[in-house]
Symmetry: C2
Subunit: 329 residues, 2 copies
């Protein structure tokens, strides 16, 4: 059993990602600052290789496992994902000369299938309506003898996602800035836990907020309860990238005594943030990737006079969803 990741694992991950991951910018906007009344820095992981932070965790996991002697070039890797983790694993595997197999629902957006395949991954489809994802995944993992890389409940994945926070923390320190609050879009919590490890170390006084869709607030409720609680449903939000059944056990163990109040946003608020990002920030964000921005724009937390770090976690939005966001806003 691999131990829960620490701050030093994030530092080690950053070295592994050097030259492969994009050092994404911290976007700022006078208009956003005026609107929120604080000083907002957006860590633009939508500009990351593959269009989301997921490449970081995937690349760290594959690289570290190979360093540890796992012969991934023989076994290959396997992931189950309809979206950003799929692309992250596929691209990281390509860069490391490893074969990737991705289990995807047959109704996954065509653009995400295309982007996963163009990184060279094999895609195996299953039918959400009549097949069990976990069974399909287990069968294929056994058949291929491949290394299964979980999208969030994996110490190396969490450490990799944390590098986005480490890059941001380094820029803050270079500029003499200290965040009052940090907001992260949260599904299973891999990104949030990774960033949490960094913020705890660099800025121990900063408040840390998970941000989830209303109705999918498993993290918020779990933090209150002090134990892992499940969502009643896992579909039915535009924020597809951050819908998970429950917090990952590892990420929750990192965040449970550390994270502050969990925030939630509606579909309308997420879409409105997508439109704001398009019109005013000139950046392309998917609804789930805009959750933290949505929380700021809709005033879910008071940031008056504060310095804020928020993550734009992904930008893999299809054309129809963007149109919906622009027309509803």
């Amino acid at each position: 059993m691999r131990a829960s990741p620490t701050y030093n694992d994030v530092v080690a991950a950053e070295k592994r990602l050097d030259g492969f991951a994009t050092q994404t910018p911290l976007l700022t906007s006078p208009l956003l600052n005026e609107r929120c009344g604080g000083r907002i820095f957006l860590k633009a992981e939508n500009l990351q290789r593959t269009g989301s932070f997921k490449f970081r965790g995937a690349m760290n996991a594959i690289t570290a496992l190979m360093e540890e002697g796992k012969d991934l070039r023989s076994t290959g890797v396997l992931a189950c994902s309809s979206g950003n983790h799929a692309q992250g694993i596929a691209e990281a595997a390509r860069l490391r000369g490893v074969k990737a197999t991705i289990i995807m629902p047959h109704d996954a957006p065509a653009i995400k299938v295309m982007r996963t395949r163009r990184s060279g991954a094999d895609v195996i489809f299953y039918d959400r309506a009549c097949e069990d994802r976990d069974v399909i995944t287990a069968e294929n993992t056994a058949r291929l003898k491949a290394e299964l890389i979980h999208p969030y409940n994996h110490p190396l994945v969490i450490a990799g996602q944390g590098t986005s926070g480490l890059e941001a923390a380094n820029v803050f320190e270079e500029q003499g800035l200290v965040p009052d609050r940090v907001l992260a879009c949260t599904g299973g919590g891999g990104l949030s836990a990774g960033i949490g490890l960094v913020i705890k170390e660099h800025f121990p006084k900063a408040l840390f907020h998970t941000v989830e869709p209303i109705g999918f607030d498993d993290y918020k409720r779990s933090l209150i309860a002090g134990e892992v609680l499940e969502n009643e449903k896992t579909i039915g939000s535009v924020c597809d990238a951050i819908l998970t059944p429950s917090p990952g056990g590892i990420s929750f163990s990192i965040l449970k005594d550390y994270a502050d109040e969990g925030l939630t946003i509606s579909d309308e608020e997420a879409l409105s943030a997508v439109a704001f990002a398009f019109h005013e920030l000139k950046t392309v964000v998917e609804p789930g990737g805009a959750a933290a921005l949505a929380a700021l724009l809709s005033g879910k937390v008071d940031v008056a006079g504060q310095t804020i770090l928020a993550v734009l976690s992904g930008g893999n939005i299809d054309q129809d969803m963007l149109m919906r966001a622009l027309s509803e806003a």
Copy 2:
């Protein structure tokens, strides 16, 4: 008569813009590098305040004129523009407590009118079909006794635009990089001349290319001829932001013995670059602002193994044009 701007004027402009202009990031993309075969850095002026580099020149001009004793708070400023210069002047004027009046064609895109007005500017419309823009501008300048700020043929505007190049040059030097080529989207040449002043100083061996729409290649032809030549037409390209009758005299005097071959791109190449920026760079660029990227993507110049600086000059694209770009690509 104010002298032609120098490198030192750009340095002075950068100080004036400090705290007002956004220090825009240099975007990079492994996919873009692979596709072009070079190492590409995109100066993201689409992320500038008001959505284009035009804020830089506007803010520098208004600030410098006030420093010189012009009582702009009494006279106000005036500009004639249907687009990005309008927004730049309106926002710079607002920040300096100066009244701005903008002469716009009555068929200017609604979004650009809205964005100009929300910065507090008065908008005066004219009919392109039956009214003469220059006459309307002269009449209103005289009537209001306002300071007319030309969109590109103005030394302070050129110096301001050059700050985008200065920021990029500083980052290149910090990272030990030297550009082999620099590509700038070019209309009247204010941006190109400003950046040219900087590149000449910091990286004298770099080749400098203007990029224009096919059929609106006044700069390219003027550079070959060694004198200012006019375009036959000034409408009829999707690159509305960079359509001008001819090179500005001041910018041309800066670039005529310095710029290398002018490049040209088609509407299809510009729209394809807009779509590439959307899908792969997750950034929102207007067709004219994507001209330099379009030249790279369509191989207008050989960049194999080279380090390239190219400007994304603006992102004020309306929804219909984006849809057109995404559907045609």
